[in-house]
Point group: C2
Chain length 671, copies 2
C-alpha cells in the first residue's frame, strides 16, 4: 500500500451528473423508484406484500410515548419471535406489533440514502419535506439509550443481540448509518445523523475487544463499511475501531455464532456452514470467496476500507486474494457473482452455470462497492474495469427500462418454460417482477444509481481520478485552488470523450482510466511530456491554461469473448461485448431456440442503432447460422448438422426482458 495513491470519492456536492446515459437512469430512480419505494414503505402499493416499515417505526414511537407518559407503570413488551417474516393474522386489524421481515427497518435507511444522493443532483423541496417527516418518525422510535431497531424495541429489548447470526440487527444498524451519512452530506441536516451516532455509541459500548464487551459480529455484513463512513464523516476514531473489531473477530475460534445458537462447538460441519456468513475462518486467512455473495462483498468492502484507514497490509493482502478469487474464478462475464441460488452464494471455482445462475443484482452492486474501495487504495484499472462491467451489465439488468420492475436474479441464459416447470430454476424469472416482499435489490439499485458519480470520480490531494467516463460538471479543490472540469461522453455507445478543464494555477493532475476494452486510444490536448501511463491510468500533469479541451477516443470494436476452458459450460462458445457492454441474443429478435444459433467468428459485425421500449441503444448484427430442425424422435444416428445462414441480432444484456417473456442467451456457440 502506498498512501500517496489513496483517494476518496469526489463528493456528490462537487459534481453535477449530466451524462445522457446515466442521467436517464438517475431520473428513472428519482421519478419512479423513490416515489414507489416511499409508497411501499408506507404499505400503499396495491397488490404488493406490505412492508410495515414505517408502521413499525410508528409503533415503536408510540411505545416510547407511553413509556414517558406512564413512567414506572409502563410494561415493556415481551419478546415474540414470530418467524423471519412476521405476518399479521388479519390485515384489517393490525395490532401494535412488529410486522414484516426482521430487517424491515433497513427499507427506510436505503430509501433515505437514495433520497440524499438524489437531492444532490436534483434539489426537490417536496421530497426533502417528506424525508424530514420520515426522519422524525424514525427518530421518535429511538430509545433513551440510543438503541434503534424496531424489531427488538417492539418485541422486547431483552432478546436484543441474541441472534446476531440471522436477525439482521447489526445489518439494520449499518444501513441506518449509511442512510444518515448520505442524507447529512446531501442536506447538511444532522437529525438522523445524530440519531445514528447515538445508536453507534450504544453499539460501540456493547461490542468490542475490551473485557466485558460482547465478542459478536454481524451475521449479514454491512456495518463494517458503514462504521467507516461514519468515522470519515465525524472523525470519531471509535467507529473505525469498532469496524476493525467486527472484521478481526469474525471467524475466530470458538465460533461466536455456535455459542449463540447453542450449537455443538466441535461440530465438524460448522466450517462449511459458516462459509455462508464468511465466518468459517478469520478474514485474514480467507483466500476463496465463499458463501452468500452479497454478504461476502459487503464484508470485503469493509475490509478494504479498514485496510486503507489503518494502513493494514495484511488485511489489504486478504482483500487482494479475495478479489482475485472472484474475478479470476467466480465472476460471470456480466460481472454477476453468485453461481448458485442455494444460499444465494458463490459456487466452487469456475462453476458458472448460465441458466441456473443466481448473480443477484445486489451482489454485483456489492462488487462495485468492493471495486471502488480497492481503487481507493490503489488506482489500478483492473478494479475500475470490473466496476464498469458490473455497472453496465450485472447491475443495470436488475431494473426494467421503465424503472418499474426488477430482477433479483440475473441469469445468462433463460428458457421461460424451464423457469415455470423446472424447480431447479424457479429462482430464475423470465420477466422482471414488480416489487418484492424482501425488497433488497430495487432500493440497492436506487442508492447505487443515484450516487453513481461517486464511482466515476475520486480524488486525492491534487489528482482527480476519472474511473468512468460520464458526462458531468466537477469541482476539484487542490492545494492551490479550485479546478472546474466538464466532461462529455458518448459512452457506452461510442468511445468519444471531451474534457474541458479550467484549472489555471491549481496544479491539478488528471488521472484518466484507459479502459480494458480498447486497444489503442488517442488523446489530444496535451503533449507526450505531459502524460504518463501507470496501472492503466493516464496521468496528465501540466500548467493548465485558462480553459483547455482534451479529447479522448477509445475505439469501440465488437469483441468476441471466450471463457477460461475451466468453465465447462462455455467451452466452444463466445460472448459478445462492445465497449463495456455485454450483449445477448433474445428471442424477440432471433426467434425461438436460441441454442440452435451459432456465430461465424470470421463474420463482420455491424453496429446498428435500435430502440427498445423507447430507449436508444446500439445493437450488433453478426453473421451466423441456425441449425436446421429435424424430425427424428429423441435419439437418432448422428449426421453432420445442417445450418442455414442467419443474421444474429445482439442487444445489450441489461436491456433484455423488456419486450415480454422470451428466451435469452449470452454465450453462443461458435462455428
Amino acid at each position: 500500500m502506498d498512501k500517496r495513491n489513496f483517494n476518496t470519492p469526489l463528493s456528490l456536492r462537487n459534481m453535477q451528473i449530466k451524462d445522457p446515459f446515466w442521467k436517464g437512469e438517475m431520473e428513472l430512480v428519482r421519478t419512479e423508484v423513490i416515489p414507489y419505494q416511499w409508497n411501499a414503505l408506507n404499505d400503499r402499493v396495491e397488490g404488493a406484500a406490505p412492508s410495515f416499515c414505517m408502521r413499525n417505526f410508528k409503533v415503536a414511537g408510540k411505545l416510547n410515548r407511553q413509556r414517558r407518559e406512564q413512567g414506572e407503570a409502563f410494561q415493556e413488551p415481551v419478546y415474540t419471535f414470530r418467524g423471519f417474516e412476521a405476518l399479521p393474522e388479519d390485515m384489517e386489524h393490525l395490532e401494535d406489533k412488529f410486522y414484516g421481515f426482521v430487517f424491515q427497518d433497513s427499507d427506510f435507511s436505503k430509501w433515505i440514502e437514495a433520497v440524499g444522493y438524489s437531492l444532490t443532483q436534483h434539489p426537490d423541496p417536496e421530497l426533502e419535506r417528506i424525508a424530514d417527516g420520515a426522519i422524525d418518525v424514525v427518530c421518535a422510535a429511538q430509545q433513551e439509550d440510543g438503541y434503534l431497531d424496531t424489531y427488538y424495541i417492539i418485541n422486547g429489548r431483552d432478546k436484543s443481540f441474541t441472534n446476531l447470526r440471522d436477525h439482521h440487527e447489526l445489518y439494520c444498524f449499518g444501513h441506518l448509518l449509511e442512510g444518515a451519512v448520505a442524507y447529512y452530506e446531501a442536506t447538511g441536516k444532522d437529525k438522523l445523523l445524530n440519531a445514528a451516532r447515538r445508536f453507534a455509541d450504544y453499539i460501540e459500548g456493547y461490542f468490542g475487544q475490551e473485557e466485558g464487551k460482547c465478542k459478536g459480529y454481524p451475521g449479514h455484513e454491512i456495518a463494517e463499511m458503514a462504521l467507516v463512513r461514519l468515522y470519515e464523516t465525524t472523525g470519531e476514531e471509535k467507529y473505525l475501531k469498532l469496524s476493525r473489531f467486527f472484521i478481526d473477530e469474525r471467524g475466530t475460534q470458538p465460533y461466536y455464532f455456535a455459542g449463540e445458537t447453542h450449537e455443538d462447538r466441535d461440530d465438524k460441519d460448522a466450517f462449511t456452514r459458516y462459509q455462508y456468513y464468511q465466518a468459517h475462518l478469520p478474514v485474514r486467512e480467507q483466500e476463496e470467496a465463499v458463501g452468500h455473495a452479497v454478504r461476502a462483498v459487503y464484508l470485503y468492502s469493509g475490509m478494504a476500507d479498514v485496510a486503507r484507514l489503518t494502513g493494514d497490509e495484511d488485511l489489504y493482502g486478504a482483500c487482494r486474494k479475495l478479489w482475485d478469487s472472484i474475478v479470476n474464478e467466480k465472476m460471470y462475464v456480466t460481472a454477476g457473482i453468485g453461481g448458485t441460488h442455494i444460499g444465494e452464494a458463490f459456487s466452487f471455482p469456475y462453476d458458472l452455470p448460465d441458466d441456473t445462475a443466481y448473480a443477484e443484482t445486489c451482489a454485483s452492486i456489492g462488487l462495485a462497492f468492493f471495486a471502488r474501495r480497492m481503487l481507493e487504495i490503489s488506482p489500478q484499472a483492473e478494479y475500475a474495469n470490473v466496476m464498469e462491467r458490473a455497472l453496465y451489465n450485472g447491475i443495470l439488468s436488475g431494473m426494467a427500462l421503465d424503472g418499474k420492475s426488477f430482477f433479483y436474479v440475473n441469469p445468462l441464459s433463460v428458457d421461460p418454460l424451464a423457469c415455470k416447470r423446472d424447480e431447479r430454476k424457479f429462482h430464475v424469472k423470465a420477466v422482471r417482477q414488480k416489487w418484492f416482499g424482501c425488497a433488497c435489490c430495487p432500493p440497492n439499485l436506487a442508492r447505487l444509481v443515484s450516487s453513481v458519480g461517486s464511482y466515476a470520480f475520486s480524488e486525492n490531494e491534487d489528482t482527480l481520478f476519472v474511473h468512468l467516463y460520464m458526462g458531468a460538471e466537477l469541482k476539484k479543490q487542490t492545494g492551490a485552488g479550485t479546478a472546474q472540469i466538464g466532461i462529455e461522453s458518448e459512452l457506452p455507445w461510442e468511445g468519444n470523450v471531451r474534457i474541458r478543464v479550467a484549472a489555471r494555477g491549481t496544479g491539478l493532475v488528471l488521472a484518466l482510466r484507459i479502459p480494458d476494452w480498447c486497444g489503442a486510444y488517442t488523446l489530444t490536448g496535451c503533449d507526450s511530456s505531459q502524460k504518463e501511463e501507470k496501472n492503466g491510468y493516464l496521468y496528465i500533469r501540466k500548467d493548465w491554461e485558462e480553459e483547455e479541451i482534451l479529447t479522448l477516443t477509445f475505439p469501440m470494436e465488437v469483441r468476441l469473448m471466450a471463457a477460461n476452458i475451466s468453465v465447462r459450460e462455455n467451452v466452444g462458445k463466445a460472448a459478445l461485448m462492445r465497449g463495456p457492454v455485454v450483449y445477448c441474443l433474445e428471442e424477440a429478435d432471433n426467434g425461438k431456440g436460441l441454442h440452435l444459433l451459432a456465430l461465424d467468428p470470421q463474420g463482420k459485425p455491424q453496429v446498428r442503432s435500435q430502440e427498445i421500449c423507447g430507449v436508444k441503444a446500439q445493437a450488433v448484427i453478426m453473421p451466423g447460422f441456425r441449425q436446421r430442425e429435424e424430425e427424428d424422435g429423441l435419439y437418432h444416428e448422428w449426421r453432420r448438422p445442417e445450418y442455414e445462414e442467419r443474421e444474429l441480432t445482439f442487444i445489450p444484456y441489461y436491456m433484455w426482458a423488456n419486450r415480454g417473456e422470451n428466451e435469452m442467451q449470452v454465450w453462443v456457440r461458435v462455428r
Copy 2:
C-alpha cells in the same frame, strides 16, 4: 389390441439362463447381494444404518402372541408417528417399537422375491431354509383378520389407511404380493402366498367401488401390478378388479389425498402437487409422464397389465401416450428416466440435463417393467429396444462390477468436485455407495437381475418370443407338445446368436427380435418362405426337424448418436453406442477435463478388448481431439481454440466408476 398378440413371460422354471454375460450378473446377485441383503434385513451390517426389518416382524409377532395369551386383558398399542424414519434414541436398548422407514417391511418382500427367482436358476437348500425361516417370522406377524403391515401393527391399527399418500402401506402390500408369488412359483411352497392372499382379501374388503368401501388408492404405486400377478397366479377375479379400481379411482375429483390430509380441496396448487403421485388427473386423461419417476412407471405397468387382462382399449391408449411421452421426450440415451432430483421426478419435455440427472436405477427398472408389459400386449420391437437399453445401461450401472456397491442416481456427466461442492449436485455421487438406509435400488436390482430371463423370453399359445438374446435352455409347451430351445449368444459384445431347436411336431413358432441397433442381419437355417418380418420381429414358422440350428448375425457397428435438437444440453454433441451398449469417457482412460475432448466424426472407431476390475468388455477407441489449455484468466478475447489429436477411449457406461472417483461423460462434443 389384438388378443392373438398377447403373450406372457416364460416361467423361470422353464428356463435355465446360461448366458456368459447375464449369468455373471446373476451370480453376483446370488453370491453377493442376496446374502448381504439378508444381513442388512437383520441389522448385521457393520457401519450401515440398521434396517430393523426382520426385527419389526418379530416385534409384531410377539404382540400377536401376547394378544393370544392375554385375551381381553391385552392392550392394543397406541399409534405413534415418529417421523418417516423412526430411529431409536438408544441403539443399545431397543424397545418393542417400530423402527426404521415406514416402508421397511418391503425390504423383506424384495429379498424373498429375489431369492425365489434365484432358486429357479440355482437350487440352494441352505438359502431356501433361511427363506422359509424368514417366512415363518413374517407370517407370525399377520393379524387374525389378515392384516400384515408391521408399521401399523406395532404402532396401532387404528391409524391404518389414514395416510395412503405418504405411508407406503399399500406399497408394502404390493411388494408382499410380488415376493409371495415369486417364492411360490419358484418353490411351490404356499405359506407366504396364503398369507399374502389373506392380506389381499382384507384389503379387498376395505377398498373398492362398492358402497361403504374406502375410495383411496396407493400413494406409491405397485399394488396395481402386484394384484394382477396374484390374480394370474390364483385365478381370483377380485384381485384384478381391485387393481382396476385403484387405477380408475386415481386422480378423480375431489382428490382422495386432499381429504386424507385435510388439505383445501379447492387448492389451486393441488393439480401440480399431485403430479408427483400421478394423481392429478384420472389416469386415462394423463398424456405426459410426470412426477416421481419410479411411481410413474410402476403405475403405467399396472395399467398395461389391467388393459391386457380386461381388453380395455382406452386404458391401453393411455399407456401408449405415456410410453410415447417417456421415450420421445423424457428418456436419457441410457434409458435413465427422471431428469430432476427434486421429487426424483420427470422434468419437462426434453429437459435432460446430464450432470444433474436423477435417472434412478429403480426408475430404469420400472421402465423395463413397463416395456415388458407393453410387449405382452403387442410384441413390437420398440418396446424391447427400450427394455434392452435399460437393462444394459441405466439399470446395470446401478451396481458395481463386484456387486458390492450401488448407485441410486445415474448421471451422464460427472465432475467429482461438483458433487462435493455444489449442493445442486449433492444427489450425484462419483462412486457407488455401500448400502442405503432407504434401500430401494439394490434389492430392486437383485429381483430384476435374478429374473432377467422373464424379460428375455415370453410366449403365447404356439409362439416363443425372443426379445433379448441371452444364452439359455428353454422349454416351451405348445398345443402339440414340448419344444426345447437352446440359445447361445455373444451379446452384448458381438451380435452372434445360435439357436438350437428341438421341436419336431410341436408347431412351434419362433419370434425373434431384430434389434434397432443393427441395419442388415443374416439368418441361416430357414428359407425365406418360412420367415416373416412384422413389427421388428422375425416370425419363423416351419415343420421342425428333430434338431435344427438357426444362426443370427447382427452386425454391431459403433454408432454415433445425436439427441433431438430440443435437448438443449446435447446440441453439438454425440454419444457412442455399440449394439445395445452406451459408452462413456472416463478420466481413468482419458485424463482430467473430459469437457475439453471432442470426437472426430469421420474417425474410424476401433473395438478393443479391455478388462475393467477383472471383467472383460469391449472398449471403443475413437480418433478425436483435446482442446489445448490456455493461461488467460477468466475471460479473454476469443480466438480459434487449438486442438491436439488424441485417441479417445470409451468404455461401456454401466462399467463407469469402478476404478475410483473420477470424471465421466457420455455426451461428447463433435468437431
